[in-house]
């Protein structure tokens, strides 16, 4: 697979103009249909059923880099990872991956459910090309990390899905891979195990392993990686330092959600603004005023929910208010006394229901605002900060 364009150091990945296409063909099992397809292909006629999932993707990853791979569903992230593991081959372009790969792409990949946990550890090791003795050396560490001391002699089919995932992760990252590929794995484990995984990934990266992490959990990506690739519809849209790429990615998510705007429930928001109370931009730790002009066809007893988010539908914090809406135009004003947000762009999301719990407005973004203030203070590497709330404190050490 590795078509060399010059020797790569161990742990390096180079993809050059990668293309991948799939055929959506429900009759592909029929030999006659295949023959016809081949003939069409030979005559360069029927290209219609090819779906391109990676288009001209080029990138280079140096040994020891930790790279996050983000993008919406169906953007080609997992396909790209499968190319990296060598499960799939690119349709065009060259890919060079140097060094042993530890991959956690799919729960069941490389795991035989009829074998015990112990057998699977050794099996996986030998699939990676390790000697039995080399795996045996790591065996205790693997079992201990996965917390499976009681279960290693049990068949995998009697494992819970969390146990499987723990075993898979533990094996993948303890067998000294030069490259660690992780696809959306933290979703299954419980909270403590997730944090252990993140810590472990951090250690692995610090020991010089290349990490490629696919996740929709942007906070986890931000906490673990220092570089980010953004794939959208098979095209590599951005490649750069994690904060820059995630910044524009979050903004893009917001633009996509903005298409929801103007969603009309029973009531409608005509205008929404978020200011410092005097038409200026809000500042960190200063008051902020959100002003909504609401059009209603009749009078309601309403409960308003107002959330502030970094773009996605998951708010950093939510405010709630019970009030009475008159028929016609109403002005709803919410004054926040201290805005606990750092510098950056944030979005106001709104939801409303009446006193019988009927939804009047779906949860949707109403407007955005830019906060003036200090940069967000970063958490230590490997620690996920769930939301970017900034609270200033006065410290003393005595």
């Amino acid at each position: 697979m590795s078509l060399d364009l010059g020797a790569l150091p161990e742990g390096a990945i180079r993809g050059d103009r990668l293309w991948k296409r799939f055929r959506d063909d429900d009759r592909r099992w029929k030999i006659g249909h295949q023959v016809k397809a081949k003939v069409d292909q030979w005559r360069h006629q029927d290209e219609s059923y090819w779906r391109y999932v990676l288009r001209d993707v080029s990138f280079e990853i140096a040994p020891g880099e930790s790279v996050g791979l983000v993008g919406p569903n169906g953007s080609g992230k997992s396909t790209l990872l499968k190319l990296l593991t060598g499960t799939m081959y690119p349709y065009a372009g060259t890919l060079a991956v140097e060094g042993r790969i530890g991959a956690l792409i799919n729960l069941s990949a490389g795991i035989v459910s009829d074998l015990t946990g112990k057998d699977n550890i050794f099996l996986y090791g030998s699939l990676l090309g390790l000697k039995r003795a080399e795996v045996a050396k790591k065996y205790d560490q693997i079992v201990e990390f996965a917390d499976l001391q009681e279960a290693v002699d049990r068949q995998i089919k009697f494992y819970s899905s969390g146990m499987q995932k723990r075993l898979g992760f533990s094996v993948a990252c303890h067998l000294d891979p030069a490259i660690l590929l992780i696809d959306e794995v933290l979703a299954v484990g419980d909270a403590t195990f997730q944090q252990r995984c993140l810590n472990r990934m951090q250690q692995v990266v610090e020991s010089g392993t290349t990490l490629v992490l696919v996740s929709h959990d942007l906070a986890a990506v931000e906490g673990t990686c220092n570089r980010c690739l953004w794939l959208n519809d098979g095209v590599l849209l951005a490649d750069g330092p994690i904060r820059d790429v995630l910044g524009i990615y979050r903004q893009w998510i917001e633009e996509v959600s903005e298409q929801l705007q103007g969603v009309k429930g029973e009531i409608e928001i005509l205008k929404a603004t978020a200011t410092d109370g005097d038409r200026g931009s809000p500042r960190s730790d200063e008051p902020m005023e959100v002003r909504l002009v609401v059009q209603s066809d009749r009078a309601y007893h309403t409960t308003f929910f107002l959330g502030v988010s970094e773009g996605p539908a998951t708010p950093i914090f939510v405010l709630r208010y019970n009030g009475h809406l008159e028929e016609g135009e109403n002005e709803v004003v919410c004054m926040m006394r201290h805005l606990p947000l750092p510098r950056g762009r944030f979005y106001v999301w709104v939801y409303a229901k009446d006193n019988r719990n009927k939804q009047l407005l779906p949860w949707h973004p109403a407007c955005f605002f830019d906060v003036i203030g200090n940069r967000l203070q970063r958490a230590p590497r490997g620690i996920i900060r769930l939301s970017s709330v900034q609270v200033t404190g006065d410290w003393t050490i005595s």
């Binding site: 799939f22 055929r23 592909r28 099992w29 029929k30 030999i31 295949q34 499968k82 060598g86 499960t87 799939m88 081959y89 030998s126 699939l127 990676l128 090309g129």
Partner: protein, 162 residues
């Protein structure tokens, strides 16, 4: 050092070989019981076995990937095996096939001289019919090469369709 995917069809052959070894134990006991020992012609088993492996590996490699693309193959194989059993001299001697048919049949189905080679070599202290085995050996080698090429070329797309 990555493990190639060839290992999976070949592993299946290995499983069957282990079966064969187990089946060979009572066979060997029969020799002891009847005080009837094979002579030096038994060494013909080695080239026969090598050719058989070449043929089996070639077929196994090709069919394994093709059956991913065309699922029907898996269902059809059982039937083909039954037909193959009857067009090979398993339950009847080669001598019951008209002499003029033997060579073409051996080329098309190399199992004919292979099976009919084991029998004289082990039981009757004779060497196999080289006039049939020679052309069949060519077929075996060709099947192995073609099978490997088919495997290599179709293996690329397995993950795309499976």
């Amino acid at each position: 050092m990555k493990c190639g995917r060839e290992i999976f069809p070949i592993e299946q052959i290995g499983t069957s070989l282990f079966d064969m070894v187990l089946a060979g134990i009572p066979f060997g006991l029969l020799f002891v019981r009847y005080q009837y020992m094979p002579t030096s012609t038994i060494y013909w088993v080695i080239p026969l076995f090598a050719l058989q492996m070449a043929l089996t590996i070639g077929l196994g490699l090709a069919l394994s990937t093709l059956s991913v693309y065309f699922r029907d193959i898996r269902q059809v194989i059982g039937g083909i095996m039954t037909v193959g059993l009857f067009i090979s001299p398993v339950a009847y001697p080669l001598s019951s096939i008209p002499p003029s048919y033997r060579l073409p049949l051996s080329i098309v189905n190399p199992f004919v001289p292979l099976i009919d080679g084991y029998r004289p070599a082990i039981l009757f202290h004779q060497k196999p019919d080289l006039h049939l085995l020679g052309p069949a050996a060519v077929t075996c080698v060709v099947v192995m090469i073609v099978g490997y090429v088919v495997f290599r070329r179709t293996e690329i797309g397995i993950a795309d369709v499976a």
